[in-house]
């Protein structure tokens, strides 16, 4: 069954088959035309021959009929039927006869079956029909009986003397030789067709090999490119200047450029990392330095006035605040480092644990939470990481709402991905801040660290996911995180 399933076959097979079919079709068509034309020509020749033979007898027959010289009539038939030279030798005279206008035999090549002076021996309908047709003829003409091996053509020539009809000469030639001739040419043409088919399939195989070899190499190269295995693309051999050669060259060029681009990207990524690291270091230095300066002042003042309880009461909270801030910054950085290493797998319902944390975070605020978790425990997630993502997004929303509004959390499975959505109806993100939302230490809040969304971004990126943010200033913000299922677990 599979043999007939063409679509599953390679191009090389299909191409070879197509070329073979085309060659066979053309050869067969030409063959049929030649045989037909041949047959028609032979047929015409045979008809002319039969007419000529009938006529040759009829010219001398009139006198013999008038003289009742049946023997001469018979002899003229016999002489006519003798194998002549050349072409005539190849023709079988099935029978020949001279009949009078009433259909009685005047002479017949088979006298034992058709005696002189009696009606023709007729044993079938065809003979009766032919005789009727012959008796109606007033001019030389050709009748035909049957086709193929046993078919024949009959030349009929009426015999006249002084415009009086004396009889008819009928000469019947066999189609056998013609049929055999046509059969022979058909066989030759069949043989030629077969030879052409073999040649065609060989040509097809060779051509398809030539075409598909670079295509296969191209396909391999593309597959490697698809895998990102750019360094493993071996150059496709360029055999000549045709379209395939151009494609191969273009592909090679592309592969080379892709490799270059990849190397460049890697370089850029490294430098970006360095930049980011520098940025973070500067941010950390700056963020830590700010409270540190105030704290140093406090400590200096406390050193100068160690016994002033008023100062202690005033500066200790300040120191505490500064230390807390530094602790928060360090904790945030640590959280990221921890989560990058964490591998705590669990069911997706564990996300619901966050609800309590978030509610305590809101505290007395007038914030409504809509919670939709459509994932079951059959979806296994990396609990720490995903929780961190969701928590940071929710915290961001709580901070944005400034104690009033509503938050919606929704998570569900979409094909191979797990989607996490966090939306609020807060003030939204101004257009000018959109690009900086995920930058570290970027914050618009007085007590924000500017690390929450950056951590989200880093986590999503590490899980090969995507994060989108939609914000309509005045109407709220929506974050949508899409994580590939297999990545949710790692």
């Amino acid at each position: 069954m599979t043999w007939f399933n063409l679509s599953s076959r390679g191009l090389s097979f299909k191409l070879a088959l197509t070329i073979t079919a085309v060659v066979a079709g053309v050869a067969f068509t030409i063959g049929v035309v030649i045989v037909t034309v041949d047959w028609q020509q032979f047929d015409k020749e045979l008809e002319n021959k039969s007419l000529l033979l009938a006529h040759s007898v009829s010219v001398t027959a009139a006198e013999d009929i008038l003289r009742n010289d049946h023997w001469s009539l018979f002899k003229s038939l016999k002489l006519m039927a003798q194998k002549g030279p050349g072409e005539l030798r190849e023709t079988t005279i099935l029978t020949a006869m001279i009949i009078d206008p009433n259909g009685l035999v005047l002479a017949h090549l088979k006298p034992d079956k058709n005696p002189l002076g009696l009606p023709l021996a007729h044993d079938n309908k065809l003979e009766d029909q032919l005789l009727t047709a012959v008796r109606k003829m007033r001019k030389p003409g050709v009748l035909s009986g049957g086709f193929g091996h046993r078919g024949f053509v009959e030349g009929v020539s009426p015999i006249y003397s002084d415009e009086k009809l004396l009889g008819f000469v009928r000469v019947r030639l066999s189609y056998k030789e013609l049929y055999n001739k046509a059969l022979r040419s058909a066989m030759v043409i069949l043989g030629l067709t077969m030879a052409l088919v073999v040649l065609g399939s060989m040509l097809g195989a060779a051509m398809s090999r030539r075409i598909t070899q670079p295509l296969t190499a191209l396909a391999k190269g593309m597959e490697a490119a698809g895998r990102g295995d750019l360094l493993n693309i071996s150059p496709v051999p360029v055999s000549n200047d045709d379209e395939l050669g151009i494609v191969a060259m273009a592909f090679n060029k592309m592969a080379k450029e892709l490799v270059e681009k990849k190397l460049l990207e890697e370089q850029i990524a490294v430098s970006e990392k360095l930049v980011a690291l520098g940025h973070i270091s500067a941010g950390v230095a700056h963020e830590v330095n700010n409270p540190l300066a105030g704290m140093m002042n406090c400590i200096d003042t406390l050193k100068k006035h160690p016994d002033d309880p008023e100062l202690i009461a005033r500066y200790l909270p300040l120191l505490d605040k500064g230390m807390t801030r530094i602790k928060n910054i360090v904790e945030s950085l640590l959280i990221e480092l921890r989560t990058e290493e964490a591998n705590d797998m669990g069911g997706a319902t564990s996300l619901d644990d966050l609800k309590g944390i978030v509610e305590s975070e809101i505290g007395d605020g007038n914030i409504e939470i809509v919670w939709e978790n459509h994932l079951g425990d059959d979806v296994v997630i990396n609990r720490k990481r995903v929780q961190q993502i969701v928590l940071n997004l929710l915290k961001n929303s709580i901070q944005a709402l400034q104690g009033k509004g509503s938050i919606a959390f929704r998570t569900f499975q979409d094909g191979d991905c797990v989607v996490l959505e966090v939306a609020d109806n807060g003030p939204g993100i101004p257009q000018e801040h959109r690009k900086q939302v995920f930058d570290p230490f970027f914050t618009t809040k007085n007590n924000g660290t500017g690390l929450g969304l950056w951590i989200v971004y880093r986590l999503v990126e590490s899980m090969r996911g995507a994060i989108e943010v939609e914000s309509d200033p005045g109407n709220g913000t929506q974050f949508m995180v899409t994580l590939p299922s297999q990545q949710v677990r790692t």
Binding site: D69, H70, W71, F74, P111, P115, L116, L118
Partner: protein, 311 residues
């Protein structure tokens, strides 16, 4: 004798050449001398054996000292007419034409061939060997082949048989035709174009020997009594010298080895003396047959026959 004649001719020629203005007197003599002897052949021999006849003609020319040419015609009638008109000098005819009335007589018997020891032969009624016919009566309503209307064995004898039985020969057979050759009559019967035919026994036996594939397809159902063998005749008016030469050469063929060879080819024993009485039974048969003709005036015919018999 012959040498003298040639010498004479030479002298005449010399005179003609020397005296170109006085040729008229001897002109006809030269033409007569240079024209070959014309010998007519009919259906009695196989006219198709061209090489054999050419050689035989050459033999006769050598023996006689004058060129001899065989002349072939389709029918006896043509040969007889040519004899009468003087176009032929000799002819091999049949007993039936010989016995027919001629006034004035223009032929003379010179020899009768000896066949199987006697100057006699038969007429055979033949049919196809696979046919059921056993006698002439069985051929009623069938196709019958005659050789020549002036042939004894090929026409007169079957006609006589029918006449003898009181059968109307015009309606007895469904169709009849003439082949003008005994050999072709055999062919017509062998091919089953004719259901029956009448042939010369000599030719039939000859064919049986030399063309057995043809003759063996036929079967003899009626054998006639003996008749005088088809004779050789000369035209009255041919110079006696030539006639005598011809007669002598023919009759001596059986003694001459070269002549013997030709006789073997002809399947004859020799050429014998001619006896007019040999053909009497043919004449009687002709008379009886004619008398049965529905429109014949029997009295007049009988008187004619009687007159002929008296001659």
């Amino acid at each position: 004798m012959l040498r003298n004649r040639i010498a004479c001719l030479s002298i005449v020629l010399a005179i003609i050449l020397c005296q170109p203005f006085s040729v008229q007197a001897d002109d006809s003599e030269i033409i007569k001398a240079t024209k070959p002897i014309q010998f007519g052949l009919t259906a009695v021999v196989l006219r198709e054996n061209l090489r054999f006849l050419d050689q035989w003609a050459y033999y006769l020319s050598q023996e006689i000292g004058q060129p001899v040419e065989f002349v072939r015609r389709r029918s006896y009638r043509e040969i007889m007419d040519m004899l009468e008109a003087g176009s032929l000098d000799f002819a091999w005819i049949c007993g039936f034409p010989y016995v027919q009335n001629r006034k004035p007589e223009f032929i003379k018997l010179i020899s009768v061939p000896i066949y199987r020891g006697e100057p006699l032969y038969h007429s055979f009624i033949i049919v196809h060997k696979n046919s059921p016919y056993q006698s002439l009566d069985d051929l009623k309503g069938k196709v019958f082949a005659y050789s020549d209307p002036d042939s004894n064995s090929g026409y007169l004898y079957p006609q006589f048989l029918l006449a003898k039985k009181g059968i109307r020969k015009e309606t007895f057979f469904r169709q009849t035709f003439f082949t003008f050759s005994h050999a072709e009559t055999v062919e017509a019967v062998a091919e089953q174009f004719a259901d029956g035919g009448a042939v010369d026994s000599y030719i039939w036996e000859y064919l049986k020997k030399f063309q057995p594939e043809l003759a063996k397809k036929t079967r003899v159902i009626n054998r006639s009594p003996v008749f005088g063998f088809p004779p050789l005749v000369s035209r009255i008016g041919v110079d006696l010298e030539t006639v005598w030469q011809m007669e002598k050469v023919l009759k001596q063929m059986s003694q001459d080895p070269a002549g013997r060879k030709f006789l073997d080819g002809l399947k004859l024993d020799g050429f014998g003396e001619a006896k007019a009485g040999l053909f009497d039974n043919i004449r009687n048969m002709a008379t009886k047959t004619k008398n049965t003709h529905p429109r014949s005036k029997a009295g007049k015919l009988t008187s004619n026959v009687n007159a002929a018999l008296k001659e």
